[in-house]
């Protein structure tokens, strides 16, 4: 094996892949949220944001391909870690109690991950792989969220994303070796804060469209 695949394939290397791809998703979510907030500026603000974004042309395609590659790495590595970790304990404990380390976020990482994957596919089918020649993006979004079931599904998915990030954010710093007594408390708080920002920031949009807009 060459040194690169050996390093990245080890117990620590696989986690490095998770950490770097996960961090880039968090960056993506922050940018995506900032863009989506233009919806509070009304129909025109939102449509013009979408137009400007698509005016990036090839740059946008490159970013999308980058995200797709990272998503493949994150999902496949996550699946491998899940399998290996499950295999490492062939007999389960009759009594399985936490001594205080685990959190709801850390316990559920593989499950919240799978739900996020399903949601992303659903979300792309809703708003991305759609013929937009005769409809503006605002109309598309507004009509989707007239259906309360969509609103519930989207809000629930955002809670799941928040759970994933609540453990993922501090965990990725630990994985990268950036556990420092001066900064770790702040990193943990920022991670929880970000989870809330994602849950409320994204989650409120469908609610706003259904009940207010």
């Amino acid at each position: 094996m060459n040194w690169l695949t050996q390093t990245l394939g080890s117990a620590i290397g696989k986690k490095l892949l998770m950490a770097i791809t996960g961090l880039s998703f968090i960056g993506f979510l922050a940018a995506h949220l900032a863009g989506n907030l233009t919806i509070y500026g009304g129909k025109d603000a939102f449509n013009s944001y979408a137009e400007h974004l698509h005016a990036l042309g090839p740059l946008l395609t490159v970013a999308e391909l980058g995200l797709l590659t990272f998503a493949l790495i994150h999902v496949l590595t996550g699946a491998l870690l899940f399998y290996q970790n499950w295999r490492a304990r062939p007999t389960r404990y009759a009594v399985d109690r936490s001594s205080g380390g685990r959190s709801i976020g850390s316990r559920t990482m593989p499950y919240t991950g799978v739900i996020i994957l399903a949601f992303v596919i659903f979300h792309l089918i809703n708003f991305s792989f759609v013929d937009k020649r005769h409809i503006t993006i605002f109309e598309l979004v507004a009509s989707a969220f007239q259906n309360p079931l969509y609103v519930v599904a989207y809000v629930a998915a955002m809670v799941v994303v928040a759970l994933h990030v609540s453990h993922g954010f501090w965990s990725l710093f630990q994985t990268l070796g950036a556990n420092h007594p001066k900064y770790m408390p702040a990193i943990t708080i920022i991670g929880l804060g970000l989870s809330l920002v994602f849950a409320i920031g994204f989650g409120f949009i469908p609610v706003y469209i259904l009940f207010i807009a």
Binding site: I12, R89, R92, R102, N179, P181
Partner: protein, 254 residues
């Protein structure tokens, strides 16, 4: 005055490595709350022996929390409910009259059961052999203070070196990962000038061995730190990660 309690034990009994095991019930009657957990098991074993039954096999040596021989999962927690305490230092005063206590061996693919509560922890020796040492010429001891070590580094190295190799971190980890053990060993030596020359080789070799031995991967659940009888911090895992990144990407070592 000494208090005595009666408790019910549900203990994992398994005749040998290949045998099928199961939880069996035993009564521990008139147990003084001043006893340690292992002394309580001694009392149960005496009764079993007198009754002509096979005593429960469990491991212990120093019984003062320094050798790392003892350890079982008690009610789902490695070394029982007390923080920073090995099983031999856990006292029965932490239990109540009428309690039922479930006692299981460490469970990990890398720790096959030998008998009852005793597991084979040779995998930890394999890890040490892979890099848990420094290479120096023996001979007369060097003068004290020829290698200056900052006080803080010495303290951190010492905290990591407090590991007694009991295996609780692996037992408590939901993934049966050995990252705290390896993190402690790598940190202990990487922090000291004597350990630096082989630091890159050590990190690569010990992590490679850890994978070969079928330990799980770290998900940063922090259960290891919570059960460690020496309260070794997961900052040692972060240091292992740093050492591994430096070794993997920055050193010429393969």
């Amino acid at each position: 005055m000494t208090k005595t309690i009666n408790i019910t034990l549900k203990i994992w009994r398994q005749k040998g490595p290949e045998a099928k095991g199961r939880l069996e019930t035993a009564n521990a009657a008139n147990i003084s709350t001043d006893m340690s957990f292992l002394e309580m098991l001694d009392v149960v074993n005496e009764k079993l022996t007198v009754d002509g039954k096979e005593p429960i096999a469990f491991e212990s040596d120093c019984r003062e929390g320094i050798c790392g021989s003892c350890g079982c999962v008690v009610n789902g927690e490695a070394h029982g409910p007390e923080k920073g305490t090995s099983l031999c230092q856990l006292h029965m005063r932490h239990f109540n009259d009428g309690d039922t206590i479930v006692i299981e061996p460490w469970r990990a693919r890398a720790f096959p059961i030998i008998k009852d509560l005793i597991v084979d922890r040779a995998a930890l020796d394999d890890l040490i052999r892979a890099g848990g040492y420094i290479s120096v010429n023996t001979g007369s001891a060097p003068d004290a203070n020829t290698l200056p070590v900052p006080q803080r580094d010495a303290e951190l190295a010492f905290d990591a070196a407090a590991c007694i190799g009991c295996g609780a971190c692996i037992a408590a980890c939901p993934n049966a990962s050995a990252m705290l053990f390896v993190g402690a060993k790598v940190s202990h030596m990487a922090l000291l000038p004597q350990g630096r020359p082989e630091a890159a080789k050590r990190a690569l070799s010990m992590v490679g061995k850890m994978d070969d031995l079928a330990f799980g991967n770290c998900s940063n659940h922090k259960e290891c730190e919570a059960v460690c009888p020496k309260e070794i911090s997961i900052t040692n895992i972060a240091r292992l990660n740093r050492e591994y990144i430096k070794a993997g990407f920055g050193s010429a070592e393969k």
